[in-house]
């Protein structure tokens, strides 16, 4: 694919800071040098146009330069972050990866996997000579699905000039949100700051050191930050905006962030690996109501479920059935309520708990439980029950050690006037380990 438009634009940004990786500050000029160097590396490694190439790493200058080179070379790119090393061989097989690239002490290394390409969708995309992208759904509620995108289409929207900021790449290298941040920032002359790790200390330290203005993150990470009050140890005054997405935001978490960071704008985002990141506008600063759309996007609500049709939608899954209907609509499985053009996401339909025919939304119960002073974090899910089909179960992280029966009693008393009887947890367990994945998304399996 020709990303000449992007390369030309980046050239005009010359000495601006493009990327900060650890302590390295890389200008646009330096990043373009990396891009050209890696174009040569691809030639030397005989990586041909149309081949499916996995690239491992994070938002380092070498990796970003190679990604740009692979796009120009017309490859189908399979980004692999360090967090999925344990799944790597399986993911590479699903994506029919033919070559792998990694950086051993910053040195480009490419090796072949002797794989033939059999999948119809992959061969169709290769025939167009377009660059491609394979992402894997996070698997927080099941097995990861391989999602194939036409990169030419996905990158089209970045040709439109937009505002940008000094933005942290909190979302990982193999996440649609992370890649969206990368291309949006590069296309508009902004700066990407990649922290040493995504733990609270390194994220806050990077915000302070490199004057991050925009933090795209998840409600789980924000909740953790609030609970531990880690943000108070750092000067985060450079922050102008926090965007949140990937899971439902508890109202209590939103309120506390608003109170703790009154000068920071909060904006909800909406996107799916299958559709890309869509334009979303919050009703106001403290609102969970959002309008979703933008150019090339249509939405509709059927049976309280959100459906989306998007020009940047994926080509399809490599290892699951085609989810689009005949008119190209995609069922997001997100249950919503509406108020004019605004929607509020209640939760995933598959996560709804059915207690004797009555619906319970985990987020609604979590919302209440997070107000309890004993509770640090919580996950609510359904547990099978012979009487009622399912009942509500909760797994909790607590601030101080607490007897389980005591916690259960306190939960029941606390919820009495706030939830209906069928919503109140029947089973309670306490867990020491975090309740979210290494991508800071609640694990509801």
């Amino acid at each position: 694919m020709s990303i000449q438009w992007l390369v030309e634009r980046m050239r005009t940004y010359a000495d601006r800071e493009a990327l900060i990786y650890g302590e390295q500050i890389i200008t646009y000029r330096m990043l373009l040098e990396e891009y050209h160097t890696n174009q040569q590396c691809l030639k030397n490694a005989q990586i041909k146009s149309g081949e499916i190439v996995a690239i491992e790493g994070d938002y380092s200058p070498e990796v970003v330069g190679t990604v740009l080179a692979l796009i120009t070379n017309g490859n189908i790119i399979v980004p692999i972050s360090r967090n999925v090393q344990h799944l790597k061989s399986n993911l590479l097989a699903i994506a029919e990866v033919q070559k792998c690239i990694d950086f051993n002490e910053n040195f480009f290394r490419a090796y072949s996997l002797e794989q033939s390409v059999n999948h119809e969708l992959l061969n169709d995309l290769i025939a167009t000579s377009h660059a491609g992208l394979v992402l894997f759904s996070s698997g927080s509620t099941g097995k990861p699905k391989a999602i194939l995108h036409d990169l030419d289409k996905l990158l089209e929207k970045f040709k439109t000039n937009r505002d940008t900021m000094r933005t942290m790449t909190f979302l990982l290298f193999d996440h649609i949100g992370g890649l969206n941040t990368l291309f949006h920032t590069l296309a508009n002359g902004g700066t990407i700051i990649c922290p040493k790790s995504r733990n609270q200390h390194d994220v806050c330290a990077a915000i302070e050191s490199f004057k991050v203005e925009l933090l795209p993150t998840t409600p789980s990470f924000l909740n953790l930050l609030l609970m531990t009050k880690k943000y108070k140890d750092y000067d985060l005054s450079s922050l102008k905006m926090i965007t949140y997405g990937t899971e439902v935001m508890p109202e209590s978490t939103l309120r506390r962030i608003l109170d703790s960071m009154p000068n920071v704008e909060l904006r909800q985002t909406y996107g799916l690996s299958e559709l890309g990141i869509l334009r979303a506008k919050s009703q106001n600063r403290g609102s969970l109501w959002v309008s979703v759309g933008g150019e090339g996007v249509e939405t509709k609500i059927v049976d309280n479920l959100l459906y989306i049709k998007s020009e940047t939608a994926m080509k399809g899954y490599l290892n699951a059935q085609d989810p689009f209907d005949k008119q190209g609509w995609f069922n997001t499985e997100d249950e919503v309520v509406t108020d004019g053009k605004f929607i509020r996401i209640i939760g995933r339909r598959s996560e709804i708990i059915n207690v004797g025919g009555r619906k319970v939304y985990p987020a609604e119960v979590e919302e209440v439980l997070l107000q309890m002073p004993e509770i640090r974090d919580v996950i609510v899910k359904g547990q099978p029950n012979p009487w009622l089909g399912q009942v509500v179960a909760v797994i909790a992280n607590v601030h101080e050690p607490l007897d389980l029966m005591e916690l259960k009693q306190r939960i029941r008393l606390f919820c009495e006037n706030k939830l209906e009887s069928f919503q109140i947890p029947v089973y309670v367990s306490i867990q020491d380990i975090e309740l979210f994945s290494d991508r800071f998304k609640k694990i509801r399996k």
Binding site: G356, N385, L388, V391, L404, M405, F422, V426
Partner: protein, 86 residues
């Protein structure tokens, strides 16, 4: 042990009851549904509490006696499950 089980069981019933009752008003013949107005949610909660308190599993499919019709049957069931569990 039997006295302890009886005491604990009554405490769990009191905790889950939807009407005002006293410890003394629960006797061997007390009908948990009709006399104590336990609804399905209260019963489910009570069984969950029994499982946690006595470290047993309440297996609905294996219950032979109508354990909710008489407190005595419930008590016997819990004792039996405790013995099985060792």
């Amino acid at each position: 042990m039997q006295i302890n089980i009886e005491t604990c069981l009554k405490a769990l019933i009191l905790r889950n009851s939807l009407i005002e009752i006293t410890y003394e008003s629960i006797d061997e013949n007390t009908d948990l549904i009709n006399d104590l107005a336990l609804d399905s949610m209260a019963i489910v909660n009570m069984f969950a509490d029994i499982e946690a308190e006595f470290q047993i599993e309440v297996d609905i499919d294996s219950i032979k006696n109508p354990i909710l019709e008489k407190f005595q049957y419930l008590k016997e069931y819990v004792l039996e499950q405790k013995k099985k569990g060792g």
